[in-house]
Amino acid sequence: MREHVKGVILVILLGLFALAGALTSGTQVAYAHEISIALTLIAVALGYRIYLHGIRSLLHGNVTAQLFATIAIFISVVAGLVLPSASATGTAEAVGYLTAAAIVAFIILAGMTLEGYIIHRTRGALEKLINMTPTTARIRRDGTEVEIPIDEVKIGEIVLVKPGDKIPVDGTVIFGHSTVNQATITGESIPAEKTVGDRTFAGTLNEHGALEIKVEKIAEDTTLAHLIQLVEEAQEKKAPIQNVADRFTTYFLPIMAVLASVVFAASYFTLGFEVALARTVTVLLVACPCALSIAVPVAVAGTIGNASMNGIIIKGGTHIEKLKDVTLVAFDKTGTLTIGEPKVVEIKTFGNYSEADTIKYAAIAEKFSEHPLSKAIIAKATEMSMKIPDPTDFKTIPGHGVDAHYGNKHILIGRKMIETELSEEANQLMSRVESEGKTAVPVALDKNVIGIVIVADTVRENSSEAIQRLKSLGIKTVMLTGDNVRTAKSIAEQIGVDEYHAELLPEQKVAVIGELKKGNVVAMVGDGVNDAPALANSDVGFAMGAAGSDVAIETADVALLGDDLTKVEYAISLSRKAFNRMKGNIVYAFIWNIVALSLAAFGILNPVLAVVLAEAGCISVVINSALLLLSKPKSLAKIKG
């Protein structure tokens, strides 16, 4: 901020000196003319930043507006001091060259300062993220609570976070229960439940309960800090379209040199030296190569900033260009379109047994098993607030089920464990459930089937919305899974994907991606760890739920920090919009330059008007690009639900 204040002060000073110079020249005081020249020269000198930039760009072999402006201002100053008509009596006409130089310097410097400010604001998204991290933490040391600066906190210490406070560290909850708003990381505004054993991130907001968190990562090592660094790096990465703009700018210098010489020569022989000089200066001032070179980097920064505010990390300009072309999105099923953890969805009972009985006996038998199905059953028992006693003995037979005793009761779990014939009703239920892609787990007590627990992986809440949104953009959707065809078909129908491929091994997923890439630009969405090879082989790899997993963030081209799959469409829509704007800006800047240069060459513009035009062109491009930071892609508003 201090930089901008300094810039503004410089602009004001320059303006005041220029004004004072112009005013003194008309008065009758002694040495009015000399004083006027001196004041105006000071004004011109205050534009030193322009000349430093101009000279530096010359040394680096670059072409910039500042270089042309430096030459133009230099010519004007020399003309003002040397030409007989200019150094004559103190009329306004006579100091014309010098005053013009000062006004030109004023406008350019004002433009530079304004652009600098806009650019600074484009960092807004990042700054917002950064300000999320508290600078102090309340910890417990030697039995008392102390508040200390964050960089003095040590790993393994316990941080206390009150309701309404921001969490200062990455860590694990060891005491307490609360909801935490993780929007800074995931872009999702619905708060997440946090209780003992859950991970928390620095910069997220603790809502209603007090939490005690064991510190795992602080300062630069936290997830938020990593994300900020990643966004910074991404913003620095060039988009390929910039090469087009850069090519234009390299032709700029020779074209301008030729044009300026031609204009000078033509006007010199027809209209005389002074007119020729004025026109040449105007041509130099109106040229604005910067509009071409700045359009893309600012747009890239704005787009990446916008995405990061929505929990999406796009890792560079190249990916923006790839995203805009995506015609097909492939999703991994388990853990991406579905939650990835089986849940008990239905309990069917027989005879006099209740749902609670069925779950209770199943949970006793499964108590010490690590199988996902067992976990689902035990989770259900806990949900029904049951106390599960230990089994007297148990035996797990992989692929078959469990054989357990509880007191004098004999529990069998799994179709293959139960030797007796199932009833007609049970058989029908089993086949219906399996045709839906769910798993049926029969539970028998002393060889009588007392119930069937139906377990299934559940589809994420917004999976079908995500698919619908992509379809509305004309994008094809495909589901890839290692699961059997029945399960795949059932889930595919539920979500509404256009196509599915089932029973795939990880390397087969890579092959399918290869096939899909024939004729399509393919984005692949997965968890970024198990399906890393498939992500790497797609045109754009999305890792979802990537917060907290450095591997996933590292592998992906685009990381979705939360679990919201609708962000895939957001990223694509945003990129389409961003690319159109970059392209539009380049075309606009190009046309603007041609029109302005023609006007200048034919003497329709004067130097001051020329520089106003050039700055207006440049600033409009910068603003247009920077606004990508705040834009909302259209399709978001259209679809609800």
Partner: protein, 85 residues
């Protein structure tokens, strides 16, 4: 506290050198360095590409700082290094 002052040159090939672009890059660079734990002062000259950094040697080593700058796409050359406190 053990403050060291380092002056280095950070250059990048992809900037055409126009002032807005240079300001933009300098701004990014300044913030990125300033955020490192242990860095107390940063000055980036957007015209010459010269970066002056003061940092606490007990909290951060120089290679960590240069690594961060390189990650942002710059080539780093250390010009001078002195202990000031």
């Amino acid at each position: 506290m053990n403050i060291e002052k380092v002056i280095l040159n950070a250059s990048k090939t992809d900037c055409t050198g126009c002032s807005t672009c240079a300001d933009f890059k300098a701004d990014n660079l300044r913030h990125a360095i300033a955020r490192l734990n242990g860095v107390s002062k940063v000055k980036v000259d957007e015209i010459t590409g010269k970066v002056t950094i003061e940092y606490d040697t007990q909290k951060i080593i120089l290679s960590k700082i240069t690594e961060r700058i390189e990650k942002l796409g710059y080539q780093v050359e250390i010009l001078s290094r002195e202990e000031i406190q």
